[in-house]
């Protein structure tokens, strides 16, 4: 088991370095001189050169790469062009908000989605199944900002149950007030995805030979569904949920904008609009870290659920 974890960690490190390199290249693909783009057309030659020197852009590319990589791994992600504060500080300040929203949405999605998908699979081709399928299809058709705006309109503007701007201020009630709408808007979309994948995974598993064996043994239907079938269905479900987390993080950007919540999303949009390159680099690093962590967790989850994997 430890060998498994160590191997996955090693692979994660390799991925991290690979993606960091990709980040490096990506930020430098920009057509035109980054310093000039920041300062604008009117800037003088000296100002541009000074900025280039400050950003370290006048070093040979190999050195730039080494500086970047070493800095990234050490935790020094440069300093924001806009605020002058260290990038890593800014990121860490808002990270908890995003994590809170993402995790809560995922939990909501799983809590609604897995039982929903199982239910639909059991009642395959009956009315409840069709209802669940149409509902989940509708759910995942929502662009996340549309779902957020509609919820905002209904529950914050038309019915003033929740604040229009969601920023916690101390108490549990305030926290609930500020997190509910964003989490619900993302959570319902997540539930749609999870429902679909659970349904199809369950259908697949229910037609397997070993389910027939369980029935032939006289195992009660409940046990067949929850112990024999669902445990096997979890394997593809974990895969899809792992992939979905990437989508969820992307969606959270839009949700944070609509509900004016602090988080990585707002930071990202700000950096994009203001061409804050160090911040952008730092953001890509943090996103990469998150992705690598998610992959690792998914792999560990497999090992937990599927005995064939544990021993490898």
């Amino acid at each position: 088991m430890t060998a498994f974890v160590v191997r996955r960690l090693a692979f994660a490190c390799v991925t991290l370095v690979a993606v960091l390199s990709l980040v490096f290249v990506l930020v430098r693909i920009v057509p035109g001189d980054p310093a000039q783009l920041i300062l604008g057309d009117q800037a003088s030659r000296e100002a541009i050169d000074a900025l280039r020197h400050r950003l370290g852009l006048d070093l040979p590319i190999g050195e730039q790469y080494a500086v970047f990589l070493a800095g990234a791994l050490r935790g020094d992600w440069g300093v924001s062009m806009v605020t002058g504060q260290p990038v890593i500080g800014e990121v860490l300040r808002v990270l908890p908000w995003t994590i809170e929203l993402t995790v809560l949405s995922l939990i909501l999605g799983i809590v609604i989605g897995v039982p929903g998908g199982v239910y639909a699979a059991i009642h395959r081709n009956r009315v409840t199944d069709y209802a669940v399928r149409i509902a989940s299809l509708l759910g995942l058709s929502f662009p996340p900002f549309v779902a957020a705006i509609i919820l905002l309109l209904v529950f914050a503007i038309a019915l003033p149950w929740f604040p229009v701007i969601s920023a916690r201020s101390g108490s549990l009630a305030a926290w609930y007030q500020s997190i509910t709408l964003p989490a619900v808007s993302l959570g319902l979309i997540s539930a749609a995805y999870v429902t679909r994948v659970t349904r199809s995974a369950m259908l697949e598993v229910l037609s397997e030979d070993y389910v027939r064996t369980a029935r032939a043994k006289g195992v009660p239907w409940n046990a067949v569904i929850w112990r024999h079938a669902l445990r096997n269905a979890l394997i593809p479900i974990i895969t899809v949920v792992g992939l979905y987390l990437g989508i969820l993080i992307g969606n959270s950007v839009l949700t944070e904008i609509v509900f004016s919540r602090p988080g990585l999303g707002k930071l990202l949009i700000g950096a994009l609009n203001q061409r804050d390159y160090p911040m952008l680099q730092g953001m890509m690093v943090i996103y990469t870290l998150i992705v690598v962590l998610v992959n690792l967790l998914t792999d560990l989850a497999y090992g937990f659920v599927d005995p064939r994997v544990k021993l490898k």
């Binding site: 027939r212 032939a216 043994k217 006289g218 005995p307």
Partner: protein, 606 residues
């Protein structure tokens, strides 16, 4: 035959499936009984309804699309009238069922111990500890070694034979009155099959239970069944004590079925291959069999000479994809084949016979050795040379359903080789397709149809037609008839033998079915773990085997003679070993002895 009350009495069982809003009957009003301690075989080809009968008895058909009518009396109680909850208590408890595919019939994420103990927990209300103790006892009864240590193992660690034993253990946990076995040995190697049959016979004695054994293999029927029911198209065509059925079958279909089954040992006095004497299933009239002479051109130089062929596969693992181990699929294989001759490669799964066939055609690249085809070394050919050589040697595969591109018309598929190699124009190709279709017994009008419109046997004929399009001299038949029904198998073998007589084809017949091989081959080579352990004329190798593995193999084959029912082979728990070796392994050079004219045996100890 017993006068005591039957354990199971089936009266007028009719099962229908709903297909596109119409109810199609699959079992049409059959009736039979199974007495206490009796083994009844239900035999039939695909589509006969034998499996559906079993599932109807167990109540395992999908409720939405099926309906079952009639009476199924288990100790007087009509199972069809029971509500689902009552029926659930019968399943696994009074009637148990085991299925055909051991590799997929066990739940991969639950331990073996739990899967067996489950039946005890639900039906006998045993506590966990008690159930586990009983599970160990049951595992010992099915002769699984180190039973106690297996409780916490998972199915993926076991081989097919072992898994089937676990299935049997699960089925017998609650000591049912009736065990239904649906083709339990069809997916297993023949030596493993013999062990499982032996085990079932033994357990039946020990437990005093009845067995309903569903199979398509008449040899298995002869060995295991007291009475036999023959099914065709949902009807019970004939029912009789097994001995009487084999000795004097009454119905035309039964006679046709028995005529199509090869009996190991029946060719003892005939050195050459023999067509099956097919009986028409409707009229009961035997086919007229033309006189056959040997087709082998033994005086000429062999068409194919294989010497010291070695093929291995790398197993890669790890992040960088390094080679961790190797599969020694083919090790130092040598043989020759003349035009018009049929050489059979027999062996169990993993012995390397399929890989040998593919290595000769270079569908898989051999590591070393020489392959001389028509005097030229196939391994030394470049791309163009290989392409030209491939016109003269062709292959037919096992799965008729996967052997044809579903999106191409069959005419297109048969014409394609000719067009690709640039022999004929399109119109000439069409004529050729018609000619080939006629040659394999199909009508030229079928050329515009798609593969899914044909049956398995017809598709195999289409594959033969496609293989013949380029006028090859060698045909490698890789388990070409294994997936076909008994009667269709006989027809296709007859077709192949006719084509051999007409065109002087040489066949490399790769098969695990030794009885079929006995009828169709001139010479036989037995393979084990990638090596040839015995090779020689068919009568010698099959009738007088010398190598211990060959002997074991021949002894394990079920023979469709009723007198074989009392044969006991004694239990063993051998596994078919794997040919995966470490990278450092160096194979031991083998010695061979000639024990008769053309009969060569690998040296063995003892």
């Amino acid at each position: 035959m017993t006068a005591a009350a039957p354990v199971l009495a089936v009266r007028n069982l009719t099962t229908e499936f709903r297909v596109d809003d119409a109810w199609i009957p699959v079992v049409k009003g059959i009736s039979f009984e199974i007495g206490p301690r009796e083994t009844v075989a239900i035999v039939g080809e695909s589509g006969s309804g034998k499996s559906v009968t079993a599932l109807s008895i167990m109540g395992l058909l999908p409720a939405a699309n099926s309906r079952v009518a009639g009476e199924i009396l288990l100790a007087g109680r009509d199972l069809l009238k029971l509500p689902e909850e009552q029926m659930r208590k019968v399943r696994g408890n009074q009637i148990s069922m085991i299925f055909q595919e051991p590799m997929t019939s066990l739940n991969p994420v639950l331990t073996l111990g739990f899967q067996i103990a489950e039946a005890l927990i639900y039906h006998r209300s045993l506590g966990r500890a008690q159930a586990e103790a009983e599970t160990v006892r049951i595992l010992q009864r099915v002769r699984i070694p180190s039973a106690a240590s297996r409780l916490n193992e998972y199915p993926h660690r076991l081989s097919g034979g072992m898994r089937q034993r676990v299935m049997i253990a699960m089925a017998l946990a609650c000591k049912p009155k009736l065990l239904i076995a649906d083709e339990p040995t069809t997916a297993l190697d023949v030596t493993i099959q013999a062990e499982i049959l032996e085990l079932i016979k033994l357990l039946q004695d020990e437990e005093g239970m009845s067995v309903a054994f569903i199979t398509h293999d008449m040899g298995v029927v002869a060995e295991i069944a007291d009475r036999t029911i023959v099914m065709q198209n949902g009807n019970a065509v004939e029912q009789a004590p097994t001995a009487r059925l084999f000795a004097s079958p009454r119905e035309a279909y039964t006679r046709a079925l028995l005529a199509a089954v090869p009996r190991l040992g029946s060719m003892k006095d005939r050195p050459d291959p023999q067509r099956f004497a097919i009986i028409d299933p409707i009229t009961g009239e035997p086919e007229v069999v033309p006189e056959t002479t040997s087709t082998a051109a033994l005086t000429e130089r062999p068409l194919l000479e294989v010497a010291n062929l070695v093929t291995r596969f790398d197993i890669r693992a790890g992040v960088l994809g390094g080679v961790k181990a190797r599969v020694h699929a083919v090790e130092d294989v040598s043989f020759s084949l003349h035009a018009g001759e049929t050489l059979a490669l027999v062996g169990e799964s993993g012995c390397g016979k399929s890989t040998t066939g593919r290595s000769i055609l270079r569908l898989v690249e051999p590591e070393s050795g020489t392959i001389l085809f028509e005097g030229r070394d196939v391994r030394a050919l470049d791309r163009a040379g290989l392409r030209a050589a491939r016109r003269r040697m062709q292959m037919i595969f096992q799965d008729p359903f996967a052997s044809l591109n579903p999106r191409k018309t069959v005419g297109g598929a048969i014409a394609e080789p000719v067009i690709v190699h640039g022999f004929l124009s399109r119109s000439e190709a069409r004529d050729r397709v018609s000619e080939l279709l006629r040659k394999v017994g199909l009508s030229p009008g079928m050329a515009s149809r798609f593969p899914h419109e044909f049956s398995g046997g017809q598709r195999q004929r289409l594959c033969i037609a496609r293989a013949l399009a380029l006028e090859p001299r060698l045909l490698v038949a890789d388990e070409a008839v294994s997936a076909l029904d008994v009667s269709i198998k006989a027809q296709v073998i007859n077709l192949m033998m006719d084509l051999q007589a007409e065109m002087g084809l040489a066949y490399l017949l790769i098969s695990h079915d030794i009885a079929v091989v006995e009828r169709a081959s001139h010479r036989v080579a037995v393979m084990y773990l990638g090596e040839i352990v015995e090779i020689g004329p068919r009568a010698a190798v099959i009738g007088n085997p010398q190598h211990p593995y060959t002997k074991r193999l021949m002894a394990a084959v079920p023979v469709p003679e009723a007198s074989r029912r009392t044969i006991r082979r004694g239990l063993s728990t051998t596994e078919v070993p794997s040919s995966v070796r470490e990278t450092s392994y160096v194979p031991v050079p083998r010695l061979y002895r000639e024990v008769g004219p053309g009969h060569i045996v690998q040296a063995f100890d003892g």
